[in-house]
């Protein structure tokens, strides 16, 4: 089984978010970049398929050379090969078109992406890759088993979960639950050394339209101070929520 894991290169979850150039660009100054958490759950599940079922695991990212350390980290975790599509990830559709080409060229049976990246939160790339390549698709996937050419996937729905089966090729939009937080792997020294020697190929992008563009950014309005209520006067909280906030 050939698995491709799509890796987004995103600011660490603790990053302070700021903008430059008149609020038109994300300020990367002092920001640590990491593997998108939703993708990392998928990568870790892919490692399980590699170790238990002999799958091969490639990772791919659409981005400039600055994203290569993130791909190297994925190799250090255990992926076999990395591919970087040498283009700026301008929007979800553009990225999906690039990934669809990689998927078709590589003949992958299973493609795992995150349900969304934690930077632009578009939540569209895995589904678009599925639609562009004609593969089956399961989103918000929290459990995945493969037997022969059939996948059984569990999807998180509002207020519960749903189980489905589908033939490969399959694309999933993954998230926590594919593996547990405690299953995530921190690369060890041996992994890091090996990752340096693993192939990282750079491919040029295919033509694709950019359909959406973030033209400007805004930060949420600063919050007013919290109104504190004494623990001895809980009734006051109810009055405030009812009369002032109109929330109950």
């Amino acid at each position: 089984m050939k698995i491709l894991v799509c890796i987004s290169h995103v600011p660490d979850t603790t990053s302070k978010i700021n903008f430059t150039d008149g609020d038109t660009k994300f300020d990367t100054n002092g920001v640590q970049f990491v593997i998108n958490p939703n993708d990392e759950f998928g990568l870790t599940r892919a490692m399980w398929f590699k170790e238990k079922q002999g799958a091969s695991v490639d990772v791919v990212n659409v981005g400039g050379p600055e994203t290569e350390p993130t791909l190297r980290k994925a190799l250090a975790i255990g992926a076999d090969n990395a591919i970087r599509v040498n283009a700026e990830a301008t929007d979800g559709f553009f990225v999906a078109k690039q990934l669809a080409k990689v998927v078709q060229d590589g003949g992958y049976d299973l493609v795992i992406g995150g349900r969304e990246s934690i930077d632009y939160n578009g939540g569209m790339v895995p589904g678009m890759v599925a639609a562009l390549t004609g593969a089956n698709f399961v989103n918000t996937c929290i459990g995945l088993e493969i037997e022969g050419d059939t996948a059984t996937a569990i999807r998180e729905i509002d207020g519960g979960k749903e189980t489905s089966t589908a033939k490969l090729p399959l694309v999933v939009g993954g998230q926590k639950g594919l593996v547990e937080e405690s299953d995530l792997r921190i690369p060890n020294m041996r992994g890091i050394m090996m990752a340096r020697k693993k192939p990282l190929s750079v491919v040029e992008p295919v033509d694709a339209n950019q359909e959406t563009k973030a033209v400007e950014f805004e930060k949420p309005a600063p919050k007013g101070d919290v109104k504190l209520v004494s623990p001895d006067n809980v009734q006051e909280l109810i009055d405030l929520l009812h009369n002032e906030a109109k929330a109950i």
Binding site: T13, T14, I17, F19, P37, G92, F93, A96, I118, D119, N121, G123, M124, P126, G127, M128, A130, A131, N136, V138, N139, T152, E156, I157, D158, G159, G160, K161, E162, T163, T165, A166, K167, G177, E180, E181, N209, E211, T212, K213, A214, V215, E216, F217, E218, K219, P220, V226, L228, V229, S230, P231, V234, Q235, L237, I238, H242, A245, A247, I248
Partner: protein, 322 residues
């Protein structure tokens, strides 16, 4: 050309999100000088949509569509959009809508903007405001495609009453086996509980509650408010509560009207996930907890004393205001 809206239902009744997307679609239609057509799959009574400005309801009652299936539903919406000549499709931020949206976008050659929080800033060029960086910021996104899909963030727009004819008409999409290539084999859903996505009020517990055995008061507080229960990431990582309750950056986003956090310190990832909630309340014994900087109302005190009192007082309040 009309604005097409996908009005979701559950058990034959429209969800609140259906009325919200209809309200939004009506305002967009007004901006463009056109009408609103809704697609309702095994949905509620079409007349219920009239109050939110829907002019026409395409009712789909295909037996194959009784269970949600992303590809088949996306195909149905595609055919409806083509029939209505709709260039704008409005959907909600439910798990199902977010599942079908990218499929619909590719098949319709449409651009897709998710997590939209306001009416378009302009329609030419077409610009919408959406959240990004998991609620730490907003972006103004310009959509350059002729066809556009707008995924409206839950509770961002609210309900706006309006008048529409809501003329019902049967719609029979032509579906093929390919549409059902992903077979749903089981659905496991708590029907007696409000889901976090649909909830007006969410009550959430953190590590300050000391152990899963202390969750009774969180559930009691949620019950009296008709709220959904949630938890912080450490709580779900330690297995005190199911993963489905984890809210935050890597968990579920929350956009409720009221969010009450008990014993949650307020890590930046947690705050990002719940930031879209309108009114935030924190109860924590540590006055230095970062949540106090993000909350509207707070009580510095022992949750084990404050919460039982709050439940009691809320019961009184509810019986006086029933």
């Amino acid at each position: 050309m009309s604005v097409l809206v996908y009005t979701e239902s559950e058990g034959g009744k429209f969800k609140k999100a259906a009325f919200e997307v209809a309200s939004y679609a009506k305002e967009v239609a007004n901006m463009l000088g056109t009408t609103v057509s809704a697609v309702s799959i095994h949905g509620g009574d079409a007349s219920a949509l009239a109050a939110y400005g829907v002019d026409k309801v395409l009712e789909v009652n295909d037996d194959k569509l009784t269970t949600f299936n992303a590809k088949a539903y996306a195909d149905t919406l595609k055919q409806a959009a083509e029939k209505e000549g709709a260039n704008i499709v409005v959907i909600s931020s439910s798990a199902d809508s977010k599942f079908l949206a990218p499929l619909l976008a590719v098949h319709l050659d449409a651009g897709y903007a998710s997590n939209v929080v306001a009416l378009p800033e302009s329609t030419s060029p077409f610009k919408v405001k959406r959240t990004a960086f998991t609620n730490k910021a907003f972006t103004i996104t310009e959509m350059s495609t002729d066809r556009k899909i707008i995924g409206l963030s839950n509770n961002a727009f609210g309900l706006k009453e309006n008048e529409g004819a809501a003329a019902a008409e049967a719609f029979e999409p032509s579906l093929n086996d390919e549409d059902f290539a992903v077979h749903v084999t089981a659905v496991d859903k708590a029907t007696d509980k409000v889901s976090i996505a649909d909830a007006e009020i969410v009550v959430s517990g953190g590590r300050g509650l000391k152990g899963p055995e202390n969750w009774g008061m969180i559930e009691d507080l949620a019950d009296v408010l008709g709220a959904a229960t949630a938890c912080s990431k450490p709580v779900s990582d330690m297995g005190w509560r199911p993963h489905g309750e984890h809210v935050g950056q890597t968990g579920k986003p929350v956009a409720s009207n009221l969010y009450i956090a008990v014993g949650v310190s307020g890590a930046i990832q947690h705050l990002a996930g719940i930031n879209a909630s309108k009114v935030k309340v924190v109860i924590n014994n540590d006055p230095e907890a970062p949540f106090f900087k993000a909350a509207d109302y707070g009580i510095v005190g022992d949750a084990f004393e404050v919460v039982p009192t709050l439940i009691e007082k809320l019961k009184e309040f509810k019986s006086n205001n029933a």
